[in-house]
């Protein structure tokens, strides 16, 4: 029998601890497949952030540095500058990257650091128990926006892929989702492009991946998956926002 589906070499053979219906596992897999494809596992350094992303080293079979909340792009900068023959990527959530870490992400992007950033946007602080994030949708109820996010008081959900696309140092910026087979295929292509750009030394590459958080959204996995398509994608449109190959 021909084997058509195997675990990527860059992932460990471990049981997941993520909640049922969480999209971290799918995104992990796509990142691992990109690493396998470019055969860069042995020279890749991952930078884990805080929250559910921190357990990077439990899943990826690579060397990992754990960064303080929001600071992964600065940690990755130090690692890449001191080991410029290595592939360095960060894996960050929305609270991490778009709130406490906005300074670090904007300036690493603007310097054109040769790193890849995987930004998982699930519109909430997952591990801390579902509080309001900078990406929380208007009207979305969370544990710190019990009446729903009010744009007059809380501002608007922030669109990072578009925001970073304005910066000259950015080589590639795209938003993807893993809520359907079609979107998974597209996400795989985009994540590969992001890593290829680093392999080719083209500068900063950024992937925003929309993700479901059924537990904190108070939804069943299927309903959460549907919400990504019905509510998130209309506000956070998928696509490529900057690609220096096209400039």
């Amino acid at each position: 029998m021909k084997q058509v589906f195997t675990r990527p070499e860059s992932l460990k053979d471990v049981q997941t601890h993520f909640c049922p219906g969480c999209h971290h596992g799918s995104i992990h897999r796509l990142v691992a497949e990109a690493m396998d494809e470019f055969d860069i596992r042995s020279k890749t350094i991952g930078v884990a952030s805080v929250g559910c992303s921190v357990f990077l080293y439990g899943y990826f079979d690579i060397d990992v540095i754990e960064a303080p909340h929001g600071r992964a792009p600065a940690v990755a900068t130090g690692a890449k500058r001191s080991r410029d023959d290595r592939i360095v990527f960060t894996y960050q959530g929305d609270g991490d990257l778009a709130a406490i870490g906005t300074s670090e992400i904007i300036h690493a992007a603007n310097r054109g650091e040769d790193i890849t950033v995987i930004f998982v946007n699930n519109t909430t602080y997952g591990m801390t128990g579902g509080q309001m994030a900078p990406t929380t949708m208007v009207g979305q109820k969370t544990s710190t926006s019990p009446y729903g996010r009010n744009q007059a008081k809380d501002g608007y959900p922030i669109r990072m892929a578009e925001l970073l696309a304005q910066l000259e140092g950015v080589a590639f910026s795209a938003r993807v989702a893993v809520n359907s087979p079609k979107n998974v295929m597209q996400a795989k292509k985009m994540i590969k492009t992001a890593f290829r750009y680093q392999v080719e030394g083209r500068g900063f590459s950024f992937i925003e991946a929309l993700a479901a958080c059924p537990t904190n959204w108070g939804m069943k996995p299927l309903a959460a998956n549907e919400r990504v398509g019905s509510e998130m994608i209309p506000y956070f449109p998928l696509g490529v926002y900057r690609n220096t190959a096209n400039l």
């Binding site: 042995s42 890749t44 540095i65 960064a67 303080p68």
Partner: protein, 352 residues
């Protein structure tokens, strides 16, 4: 390379870092330490190194964390307000057992304060500064030569113990020029950085630099391990200078710039026939308790002088024999508020 140079204290720090093999510097401008990033922005690139002017002190300390995690020698520097911002990163480096050198050229605080010399970051430096109950190695130079020597030592101690090391000076030492004999780094044997994150070949174990401990008892075990390391430091690495303490009836104690002024005051006292000595801690963590214990067996009268309302004096009180008396004279920062030798001589006379 043993030429006699005439340089600023801050430049001596930068020169020593290069000589110690540091090729990566991350910083953010702040007076009175900006000569350090300025010097390294010029000198590191031709050596194949990297200088980054970070977006903030927080950015800089985390770049240091990332570089250090890959096993290279790296440094950052700042002054009080910037060191406060770096505390998060310093705590994470301590929690991740990462070496790395941090230079604090102290200025007046709290808040924006001012750019006058101060020694009021003593608590912040020696008590860990950030969250979580850790310590870092703290070295206090009192001359341009020591800015050079102790910066070099900071790299070695930091690598040896896998604890961040701080060079704690003030704007007097940072900004003044005096002669310096530059010399190569002593060839100290240091352990290989097998823990460093570099990427891994097939079959090599995974290296993870982290400070998260969630398993049962893991965090407690980490704390006891680090506690033992701090104790080892305290046994092996404390350094101090003594001047005429053998027959002293009064021992003046001070660190850094203040100790220099105190030395002149002590010479005046000796001239006047008073038996006064000086004990100058060079390591502030570990604090040289043994020196205080030993001296206070014979001399029961200590005068602590600081450019603050009193911080190191607490460590002095904890270190001397029970029946020894410790008094304090402080000049918190302010324009022209450095004590003069005559002023300190008056204080010595009062207590002698």
């Amino acid at each position: 390379m043993s030429e006699k140079l005439f340089v600023k204290g801050n430049e001596a720090v930068a020169m020593a870092a290069i000589e110690a093999g540091c090729r990566y510097y991350f910083g953010y401008p702040i007076t009175p330490q900006s000569d350090i990033p300025e010097y390294l922005s010029r000198e590191l690139p031709p050596l194949g190194g990297e200088f980054i002017q970070a977006e903030s002190e927080i950015g800089a300390i985390n770049m240091l964390l990332g570089a250090s995690a890959t096993g290279v020698r790296a440094m950052t520097s700042s002054s009080g307000p910037g060191i406060s911002l770096k505390q998060e990163g310093i705590s994470y480096m301590a929690g991740s057992e990462l070496p790395g050198v941090i230079v604090d050229i102290m200025r007046a605080g709290p808040g924006l304060g001012g750019i006058d010399a101060s020694q009021a970051d003593y608590f912040q430096a020696t008590r860990g500064g950030g969250h979580g109950g850790y310590r870092i190695i703290v070295l206090a130079p009192a001359s341009v030569q020591e800015m050079y020597d102790l910066t070099m030592l900071a790299f070695d101690l930091s690598d040896l113990y896998r604890i961040p090391a701080m060079v704690l000076a003030d704007s007097v030492i940072g900004q003044m020029k005096e002669s310096l004999t530059a010399h190569p780094r002593p060839q100290t044997a240091l352990p290989a950085k097998e823990w460093a994150v570099r990427g891994r070949e097939a079959g090599e174990p995974q290296n993870v630099v982290k400070s998260l401990y969630l398993g049962d008892g893991e965090m407690e075990a980490f704390h006891w391990k680090m506690h033992a390391r701090y104790q080892e430091l305290a046994e092996k690495e404390n350094r101090w200078e003594e001047v005429q303490t053998e027959d002293a009836k009064l021992v003046v104690t001070a660190f850094g710039s203040t100790a220099r002024i105190a030395k002149t005051a002590i010479a005046m006292a000796r001239e006047a026939g008073m038996k006064v000595g000086l004990l100058r801690p060079i390591t502030l963590f570990p604090f040289p308790r043994q020196a205080y214990e030993a001296i206070s067996r014979n001399c029961k009268n200590f005068l602590t002088i600081e450019l603050s309302t009193g911080q190191m004096v607490e460590d002095v009180r904890l270190s001397v024999a029970r029946d020894a008396e410790v008094s304090f004279y402080g000049r918190p920062p302010g324009a022209g508020s450095l004590p003069t030798p005559e002023e300190l001589f008056e204080q010595i006379k009062k207590r002698y």
